[in-house]
């Protein structure tokens, strides 16, 4: 299984290359190749998720360590990476399948699919890489592809959003590169596992590097004080791309790397854990409150992403706080399970919401809720899947969002952070509020029934298919609460984080 690891980067990168060459010559080549490639990746990642145990390492070039010092670039696939790979491939496949039909409203479908494929390659690369500079390179591949995709509509709003995203993303990348240089200066190595053994505990340098990393990846993940680009970029992109950006990219590029570095590379420190938790709480509250006033469907969803990312960080941050003061490990892993489970759930229901917003836009050409209404009768599939996703994100049983929020809140209460638990409950109620507003004004408002007269049909089968699969996943992921299933999917990912610096032993093998 070790030799299969590089395929996660090779397949999307290779298909981008093939599409660039043959896509122009053979008609329909792109639309067949990319979904098949992503379907194969989904199969491969699920096989990894269910079949593999422990940490799988792969040394690029096959250079063995010399005297215990790793020389080759390491690829390390552990529980957390496997979960992220599954999310990326699955959501990527569904969004790509949806795009086959959706892309007809744009020209230049070849370029769109090539960029899509490169974005997947970048994200997979980040997740499997065990080398910090490699993470930077793949991060730039994913980011540059997403900058171009945000501007894909080349109209006023798209260009402006893309420029804003590029400037902030560029500054974030430079801060990350700066701190990578700093780390290399202090430790003389780039391997994450090796750095964690070389890095001195505490000290002003380590804190400085940690803060610069947090700002850099916080900008990429759109945590509260750095969130200003997200609503513009995510609402201006084509809808399947919004689904990828909100559902997967901010997690693979931002959250995953934050968790990986702060649990597995830096020794846990109480101050950093406190900063992460506070920022998570603030983004949860402020994202939720800002979402209420939005009238553009996709903008509302984008603000809701900030809020839900706050939940994820809150869950993991509470776990980090408990671990950093050597508290009860069981409560810490409960909080982290809540956070990681919410990450998985959010990628499912937020991509579903963006895809259904895209279906509404595909048929009506309108995103403003004030001008929509009464679409439930003409778009039954879109309406019902969007309803399922809205209930799920608001945290109503029996959907998956309920269970992950419940875990986070229970963990917060058990750890004694009553204020955080209360805020999580209040923002959950706010979430129900703004999603019911979206449902009412888009799909149900009967006072504006004129959309029914305009001869609108349900969206084509390929678009419905992706939405139905995601809606079924909203139900199916609730089953992860059953302990035996949870042990297969979530527990390995959580153990990687809880065990912290044991990552080094697992990767380097000593």
């Amino acid at each position: 299984m070790n030799s299969l690891v590089p395929l996660f980067v090779i397949i999307p990168l290779g298909s981008a290359f093939l599409m660039a060459i043959f896509g122009r010559i053979i008609k329909g080549f792109n639309k067949v190749l990319l979904p098949l490639a992503l379907l194969f990746l989904t199969y491969l990642s699920i096989k990894f998720l269910l079949g593999a145990e422990g940490t799988i390492t792969y040394q690029v070039g096959g250079f063995a360590p010399v005297a215990g010092v790793p020389i080759a670039i390491y690829l390390a696939v552990d529980g957390l990476s496997r979960l992220m790979l599954t999310i990326i491939s699955l959501i990527g496949f569904l969004a790509c399948f949806y795009s086959i039909s959706y892309i007809n409203i744009y020209t230049a479908e070849r370029k769109y699919l090539i960029l899509f494929s490169l974005m997947i390659a970048g994200m997979n690369g980040i997740v499997i890489s065990g080398d910090i500079f490699n993470i930077f390179v793949f991060l730039e591949i994913a980011s540059i592809a997403s900058y171009a995709l945000v501007a894909f509509g080349i109209d006023r709003q798209e260009l402006e959003a893309s420029f804003k995203y590029q400037v902030l993303g560029g500054v974030a990348s430079l801060l990350i590169l700066f701190s990578i240089g700093f780390l290399y200066w202090r430790t003389g190595t780039l391997n994450i596992a090796d750095i964690s053994t070389q890095l001195p505990y505490g000290g002003i340098f380590v804190k400085f590097i940690a803060m610069v990393f947090l700002v850099g990846f916080g900008l990429k993940a759109a945590i509260f004080p750095f969130h200003s680009w997200l609503p513009d970029a995510h609402s201006s992109a084509p809808s399947p791309i919004s689904a990828m950006l909100s559902g997967v990219l901010i997690k693979a590029v931002g959250l995953y790397v934050i968790f990986r570095l702060f649990f597995n590379m830096f020794a846990l420190s109480h101050q950093i854990a406190m900063i992460i938790t506070v920022l998570g709480t603030l983004s949860m509250v402020i994202g939720g409150l800002l979402a209420i006033g939005q009238w553009d469907i996709k903008r509302l969803l984008a603000y809701s992403s900030i809020s839900q990312v706050g939940y994820i960080i809150l869950g993991v941050g509470i776990g980090m706080l408990i671990l950093s003061r050597q508290g009860n490990t069981a409560v810490a892993s409960l909080a982290i399970i809540g956070g990681i489970f919410h990450l998985l759930n959010h990628s499912v229901f937020k991509s579903l919401l963006f895809l259904s917003a895209g279906a509404v836009e595909f048929r009506t050409g309108e995103r403003n809720m004030k001008k929509l209404g009464g679409l439930a009768e003409v778009l039954p599939v879109t309406s019902s899947t969007s309803m399922i996703a809205s209930l799920s994100i608001s945290g109503l049983p029996p959907f998956n969002g309920f269970f992950s929020k419940l875990l986070i809140i229970i963990a917060a209460v058990q750890a004694g952070y009553y204020l955080l638990a209360l805020l999580a409950v209040i923002i959950s109620i706010v979430t129900i509020g703004y999603f019911m507003k979206m449902q009412k004004f888009t799909f149900f408002n009967r006072s504006r029934v004129f959309w029914q007269d305009r001869n609108i049909r349900e969206v084509p089968f390929v678009m419905c298919f992706s939405m139905i699969i995601l809606a079924l996943l909203c139900f199916a992921l609730s089953l992860l609460m059953i302990p035996s299933l949870r042990d297969v999917v979530l527990t390995p990912a959580v153990n990687v984080l809880v065990e912290g610096l044991k990552y080094t032993n697992a990767v380097l093998g000593y």
Partner: protein
């Protein structure tokens, strides 16, 4: 040490430009300045005074070599920087065609 401080000052000049300038092209130039300061920083990390290039053959027997890894990294970073700058400029040109100005105060169709 003075070189590291100057390098950091260059970084801050770039950051100042990104935050305060109102012209798209000036913002892009500021990002480029930040990028160069980081490239310089990497080169400074690997540089050792009086050391030779790390090529081992019969003539060169020096005990001290400069560290080649930061140079390899920075070559990658320069290529990435080229891609980002090219994309930024392409978007800036498109924006100019739509709005007829480079002033970000007048490019404000997104609000809220």
């Amino acid at each position: 040490m003075i070189l590291f401080i100057l390098c950091f000052v260059l970084f801050l000049i770039g950051l100042y430009g990104v935050v305060t300038k109102r012209n798209l092209i000036k913002i892009i130039i500021s990002i480029a300045i930040m990028e160069y300061s980081i490239n310089l920083f990497f080169i400074l990390i690997g540089y050792i005074k009086g050391a030779t290039a790390p090529i081992i053959n019969d003539e060169v027997q020096a005990a001290v070599f400069v560290d080649p890894l930061p140079q390899a990294m920075i070559l990658t970073a320069i290529v990435i920087g080229l891609a980002t700058t090219a994309l930024l400029l392409a978007i800036a040109i498109r924006l100019y065609r739509k709005y007829g100005t480079f002033d970000i105060r007048k490019i404000n169709s997104l609000k809220g």
